[in-house]
Every structure is written in C-alpha cells, then in structure tokens.
C-alpha cells in the first residue's frame, strides 16, 4: 500500500499501575484504520480493547501508561504525526478536530443541565468559534445530519426530554462537529435496544460514507462488527487473536477464540443446544393471562396505559418469550405475573392461583414460592453487604424452611447447580464478575423450587460470551428441573435460541403471538419484521445460508 492508513498502531503496549501490582492491559497490538473504512475491535470485557481506543485519543486514566509501540495519525496532506508521548496541549488541538469520540453511555455522557444545542456547540467553542449565529447554524446542520427531526426545537431541549437513541445521535453530532478524520466509537450501542442499535449503526455507516472519515468501532458483539467492519481485529487478554478483512475472518476464522465468539453471538449461530418442548395435548397451562390491563396514574392528565389486552398461556415446562422495545410493556406484564404490582384489570392465573386476587401478606408471600423473578442488572439485585451464602439462604429463612445446616447445604447445592465453585459462598457480590453474579441471582430464584421463573432481560446486561453461557445454563436447568420460563427480552436473537412460544408487544398491546418458528420465520406483522431486521448480523446470516455471497478475499 502506497498510501499510509489514517491511523496506524504498531506494537502498542499499555500497563496499569495499581497499588499491589502492574497490570498489562494491552501487550503489543497492531492495527490500522483506513480513510473511509471501519475497523472493528472485538473482544470481551477485560480484553484491552477500550484501553487501546483510549490511548488513541490520549485519554488513558491516570494510572495507565503506554510502555511501548507507536500510534501514528496521518493527515489529509500526508503529514504523519506520532501520538505517543504527545504533550497535553497538543492533544487538545487534536481531539475534536481530527479525532472524534462517540462515548458508550448516552444516558450519562450528556450534561443534564445544558441544552442539546449547548452540548453540541461545545467542541466548536473550545476550538475557537465565536460567532454565535454561525455556531447556531452549524449546530442545526449537525442535528439535521444525524437524523433528528426539527433541529431548532431539539437544540433547545434538555437531555431528559430525548430517548436513548436520540441522545446517542446528539453525541454523534457533537463528535462530528469539526469534521474529524477519525471517529472512535466505544461500544456506541451497547446501552440501546436492538432496533435503535441498528439505526444508530446505520447512521455511523452513512456518515462515514459521506464524510470519508475512518471509524474505529469497539464492541463486544461480533455480530455488530460483522455487518459493518471492513477490517476486523479480535482481541483477548491484551493480545490480538486474529485480524484481517471482516468477511474473510467471519467466513473462515483461524483462531479458536474467534470461533467461540462466533458461536456465542446469538444472532449468528444457534449456540444453545436445546430440545424444543411441546405441551402435551390436553394439559392445563401453568400460566393463563387474560385481558391484562395496567394503568399508571399521571397527575393532571389521563392515566398512562402501560399494558392493554394481553392474553397468553404458558404450558408447563416450556419457555414463553415477551418481546418488544423499551416501553412496550413487557416488564410491566412480567412484574404483574410475579405479583409485584396488581394490574388494573384482567386475570392472571399461575398454577391455579388467581394472582390478582392475592391481597398481600401471608397469601402473597406463599405465592412467592411458585414464581420467582430474575432481574436484569446483576449489579443491583444482590445486597452488597451480604455474603453469597447469606443471599442464597435468605429465601429459605423467609419461608422458614429447614434448619441452619440444611439451609447452608441447600445454598451450596444450588451454587453447584449454577456451576459456581463452593468457595464463592463466603465472598461478597463485588468480588464476582457480572456473569457470576447473574448465576447467583438465578440460584437464589431456584432455591425456593418455583414452578415459574420470570427472566426480566436477565442476559441483556452481559457480554455475548457470558450471555451464551447463561443461556446454556438456563436451558440445562429447564431440562433438569422441569422449569417453566417467562423470558422478557428485546433481543429476538436470544428469543430464537431458548423460547418455544412468543408474544410480540408494541406500546403495551400484543401484535403477534404463537410458536417461535412460526412468528420468527414467517412474521406477518411489520413490527415483528422490523425487530427481526434489526438483529445485528441479520444480513451476515443470510450470507451464511448462501455461501457464494461471501467475497472470496
């Protein structure tokens, strides 16, 4: 290649100094980003991918240090600039103008007390724009360019008035403000719904086309990278496992780890070995939901209807999935079934108990043994002050089951059931990883031997690899214990892996329901089709079905 790439990282090493030890986060990686192309950096958390990106924009934390290698940025005129050990004032001239950053979390990356317009205008002001009218015009142009309707109105609004996807668009607009050559997108969509994720990624793609900027996309989901990347770099433990042109790596991965990532990406492969279950004919359903309606009172206006007209049955031993975007009422439905909120109208019958008629107190507490809920966020659902053993024993103490030693042995047995070593029992939640915590949360739900487990986005907060492990665990437990699951998810790829029947919800109303194969293979409703199209890697999967579509290179 005669033209040097826009960003060239050679043999880069980064270490973190902590009090006890030095951690090598990145150990000699090479990668490059070409103008107008996307290089995707893929790996699980702890692989060093974010450190590499932070080094490329000079924002390593204070205890992080580049110990070797070079990062070179080539300008449009062909001038080459070495970024390692660049002084801070020189960095300030580069950030925003030549390198733009799209941060990970749109909910916390915007200043809540400043208007959208002020946030987008900030890079302009920092880099010496003074003319107020020119700034306003540029802000409106940028907001328009990232696909926000009515830019003048949006510029006057505050972050809380915008949805997550819209906020991410605002952050992209701010990153684009000064037409940087290089965009670094650090997990730009991990906090978003799949449908929103697809549109945001499309936007980044489209902007790359129109501005000719290079993009360094960092993600833990190989499927996200699969659709967009010209170059694919797979990282693990600070080293590069595999790199090359995106299509070639996906078509014929050489590294073992890349194959694992491919298998774990729910949208690319069937990673969970699971026998679909059919209800025996004539068998009474375990759960019957009829005409469920939930209103939330709003001061000063008509009550907000979160859920209306939901009906479905779940046969014992099967998995039913509730699918929809955020705000579709799926969590509200799940919580009503678990007995956490009494619905406004309708009937819920679980194991011949009418849940809506349970008054509370004794009857409700007894019912808890039948239905258990697993929360989305394993970081919030475990009491930070309790040991894992105490967390697992608590449901038994609450229901006065067993003696102290019986409870202890039940806790250890359930740790084993979710494939955790017994020494975890004496640890605290903060000493465990996200996946381990979610296993503990599942063990806590199972210790009361419930009939039905409501999984409220139980795998959404996890990395794909961990997600696949948890899904396999759930499938195994269903086999062994004959459990019935109600799976709440926004991700149809996950649903396809583990569910037997599915209800698709939109704005609180059911749009489509039935067996998974029928709904997902031949969806009738356009909303279901939109959800399916938004699955990352959807296009790639079609390619795999037709191998000749994969370019030979």
């Amino acid at each position: 290649m005669s033209v040097p790439p826009l960003l060239q990282i050679t043999d880069l090493s980064i270490t973190y100094r902590t009090r006890r030890a030095t951690v090598e986060a990145v150990r000699g990686i090479d990668l490059s980003v070409a103008r107008g192309q996307v290089t995707a950096l893929v790996g699980e958390s702890g692989s060093g991918k974010s450190s590499a990106a932070q080094a490329a924009i000079g924002l390593l934390p204070e205890n992080g240090r580049i110990t070797g290698g070079s990062i070179a940025l080539t300008g449009q005129d062909g001038s080459r600039e070495e970024l390692v050990s660049l002084p801070e004032h020189a960095w300030r001239g580069l950030r925003g103008t030549r390198i733009g950053l799209i941060p990970q979390d749109p909910t916390s990356s915007l200043d809540p007390v400043r208007t959208i317009g002020a946030s987008v205008a900030e890079p302009l002001r920092i880099h010496g724009w003074h003319d107020r009218e020119r700034i306003t015009a540029r802000v409106h142009e940028l907001l328009d360019r990232v696909g926000l309707d009515d830019p003048a109105l949006r510029a006057r609004q505050y972050p809380h008035e915008l949805s997550g996807g819209m906020r991410q668009r605002v952050l992209i607009a701010a990153a684009l403000a000064l037409d940087p050559d290089l965009l670094i997108a650090d997990e730009p969509t991990s906090a978003l719904d799949v449908t929103v994720q697809a549109t945001v990624l499309d936007l980044i793609d489209e902007l790359r086309d129109s501005t000719g900027a290079g993009v360094l996309l960092i993600t833990h989901d190989l499927a996200v990278a699969a659709d967009r990347a010209d170059q694919l770099v797979v990282m693990r433990g600070g080293r590069i496992e595999e790199s090359g042109p995106g299509a070639a790596v996906l078509a014929a991965p050489t590294a073992e780890y890349t194959r694992t990532l491919l298998d774990d990406a729910p949208s690319l492969r069937q990673g969970v070995d699971r026998r679909p279950r059919r209800p025996e004919p004539g068998q009474a359903p375990l759960v019957r939901v009829r005409e469920l309606r939930q209103e939330f009172p709003r001061p000063g206006s008509a009550p907000f209807v979160a859920v209306d007209g939901i009906c479905f049955d779940i046969a014992p031993g099967t998995t039913h999935a509730l699918v929809g975007e955020s705000g579709s009422g799926k969590t509200t439905t799940g919580r009503a079934i678990a007995g956490f909120r009494r619905p406004t109208a309708g009937s819920i019958e679980v194991d011949r108990t009418e849940v809506t008629a349970l008054g509370g107190g004794r009857a409700l507490r007894d019912f808890r043994s039948t239905v258990q809920l697993v929360h989305q966020n394993p970081f919030g659902s475990l009491d930070p002050r309790q040991s894992i053993a105490a967390i697992l024993e608590e449901p038994l103490r609450n229901t006065r089951r067993g003696s102290r030693s019986q409870r202890r042995s039940a806790a250890l047995h359930h740790l084993e059931l979710v494939s955790l070593p017994p020494e975890v029992a004496s640890r605290r939640p903060r000493e465990l990883s996200g996946g381990q915590r979610q296993r503990v949360a599942i063990a806590r739900a199972l210790i009361l031997q419930p009939e039905l487990v409501v999984l409220d986005e139980a795998v959404s907060a996890l990395d794909v690899t961990v997600q696949a492990q948890i899904l396999r665990l759930l499938a195994r437990l269903q086999d062994e214990l004959g459990l019935t699951y109600l799976l709440i998810s926004h991700d149809l790829a996950v649903v396809r892996q583990v569910a037997d029947t599915v209800s698709v919800l939109r704005r609180g109303r059911p749009v489509e329901a039935g067996p998974v194969e029928r709904v997902l293979e031949g969806p009738h409703h356009e909303y279901t089709q939109a959800l399916l199209a938004a699955i990352p890697g959807a296009g790639r999967q079609a390619d795999q079905l037709h191998p000749e579509a994969v370019p030979a290179s």
Binding site: Y16, T18, R19, R20, A21, V23, A25, E44, S45, G46, G48, S50, S51, Q54, L60, P61, N63, G64, Q104, D186, E187, G237, G238, A338, F340, R365, D366, R368, S369, Q372, L373, H375, N377, G380, S381, L382, D383, P384, R385, Q386, E394, P395, R397, N398, T399, R430, E431, S433, A441, R444, L448
Partner: protein
C-alpha cells in the same frame, strides 16, 4: 469507568485492591485526628493519670501564666487550668455522646419509619421535622434547657433535639434510595416480610452516611454544649465544663490570655478532629 471495570475484569483480585488504594485511615491527618480524640477520651476516662491537681480546689497562687508546673497556668482562684480541662473532658464528651445518641436514635427512627411506611405517616413526620428545622438551633436548645432545667445532661438533650431533624432527613433519603433497589425487591420476592427486610437490608445499607453524620455531630455537639455552658445554661460552677471554663476566663482576657485561649484551642482541636474523621468515614464508604 470502563477502564476500571476493564482492569478489574482482567485481574479481578488486583482490580479489587486498586479500588482501595487510597485508604483514608492511612492518611497522616486522619491518624492525628484519631490520636487527638483518643487523648480526649483518655482524659475523660482516667483524668487522674494526666494531672495530679484537683480541678476544683485551689492549689497555688491565682493567675499564674503557663509554666512547667502548671501547663495551662492557673485561674483567678488559683486552680490549675490544665487539670480543669482534663477533668472537663468527661463532662463535655459524655454530654456530646448523649446529644448525638438522642439525635441518632430519635432522628433515625423517625427517618426510617417515614422512608419505609410512606404516605400520610411520612408526610406528618417529615412536616414535624421541617418545623424543628425552621427554629434556629441555639434558640431551640435554649428553650429546651429552660423547660428541662439547667445542667449538663439537660443541655446535652437540648443539643440532641436540635440534631434530630438532620438525622431524620438523611436517614429517610437513604432508606428511600435503598428501598427502591432491586435487592430489596428481590428480598420481598423471596417471601420476606417488611420488618425482616428493614433489619437485614435497608438499615445496614443506609447506615454508612448516618454514621459519618454522627461523627460530625459529635464535634458540633461539643461546640454547642460549650456554647450553652458559656452562656450559663449548662453545668453550674465550679464544674470544670469546657464552655464554662472559657466563660470564667473571659473576665481576664486582657491580663490572663491563657484562661480562654488554651481551653479554646483544646475544644477547637477536638471538634476539628471529629470533622476530619467524619469526612474520612464518608469517603471510605464511597470508595
């Protein structure tokens, strides 16, 4: 953030330790504060070990300036001021502990009940607290002392009452925050009853900032009790209470500076130490 989780992910054990790199207990100012408080506590428990003079009987000539024999000098009736400060520690510190205990127990109870029960109960309790908060602290404690009668214990209770509102508001806000957490919901979901969850989850997880406030209040309680003593609402003379000591020395400021300055410095040192320890406690919890 992403970097922290990053290193933690790579090597969980080292990441774990990294979070505790700045242990507040190891800082020199914190150690010094702890030393000052321990000394004050030792004075309160065993004053005889630190001074041979009696705090109430005059031992020598009046109004002598500080010397090797009388570290803090002597007062108008020839009593050793250092002995009076050392013996006064027990009065001032006991009173401060009573004051904090009153505020902590009553305030936290009100706050915890308001935060857990909610509804009309919460409204009633918190509006009552607002009323307490609306009255200036000194005025409130003076009124309470007048109702209860003079004396160290009564002054302590009066000071405690002024801090009820702060404790109630803080503990209520913590309880509300913890109540909404998912682990509390999970505890309800596994069949827990309100009292057991309150005891097992809500109170332990709300306690940290309340403890820090209690340490902070200890300092300001000493200050307020000294104020009441200075104004003559506390212990009657010749009790060697710190505020009273300073008040008695006031008449001799021009000729015998040590009578006000040295006990004043002791009070200031103790109050500053509790402040420093309280911030260390608060920070330690955040890390």
């Amino acid at each position: 953030m992403s970097i922290l989780s990053h290193t933690a992910g790579a090597r969980p054990s080292t990441g774990q330790r990294a979070e505790r790199v700045r242990r507040p207990a190891l800082r020199p100012t914190v150690a010094l504060s702890a030393l000052v408080l321990l000394l004050a506590l030792a004075w309160a428990l065993a004053p005889g070990l630190f001074t041979g003079y009696s705090p109430t009987a005059s031992s020598t000539e009046a109004l002598q300036s500080p010397s090797a024999a009388h570290w803090f000098g002597t007062d108008a009736t020839g009593r050793d001021v250092f002995a009076r400060v050392v013996h006064g520690a027990s009065h001032s510190i006991t009173a401060a502990l009573i004051a904090v205990a009153v505020g902590l127990v009553v305030g936290t109870t009100i706050g915890a009940i308001a935060g857990t029960v909610g509804g009309a109960v919460e409204e009633t309790l918190m509006r009552g607290v607002d009323v307490l908060l609306a009255i200036p602290g000194l005025l409130l404690s003076l009124s309470v002392v007048i109702l209860l009668g003079f004396g160290t214990t009564n002054a302590a209770i009066a000071v405690g009452i002024t801090s009820i509102a702060t404790f109630a508001r803080l503990s209520r806000s913590r309880v509300i925050a913890v109540r909404q957490s998912e682990y509390v919901e999970a505890a309800f979901g596994s069949g827990g009853t309100l009292p057991s969850i309150l005891w097992r989850h809500i109170l332990p997880n709300s306690a940290a900032p309340v403890t820090a406030l209690a340490a902070l209040q200890l300092g300001s309680a000493i200050l307020q009790i000294s104020t009441l003593g200075f104004l003559g609402y506390g212990a009657p003379p010749p009790t060697p209470e710190w505020g009273l000591l300073i008040a008695e020395g006031r008449d001799y400021v021009a000729t015998a500076w040590w009578l006000t300055l040295l006990p004043g410095l002791v009070v200031a040192a103790v109050v500053l130490s509790t402040n420093r320890l309280s911030t260390a406690l608060g920070k330690g919890e955040q890390a």
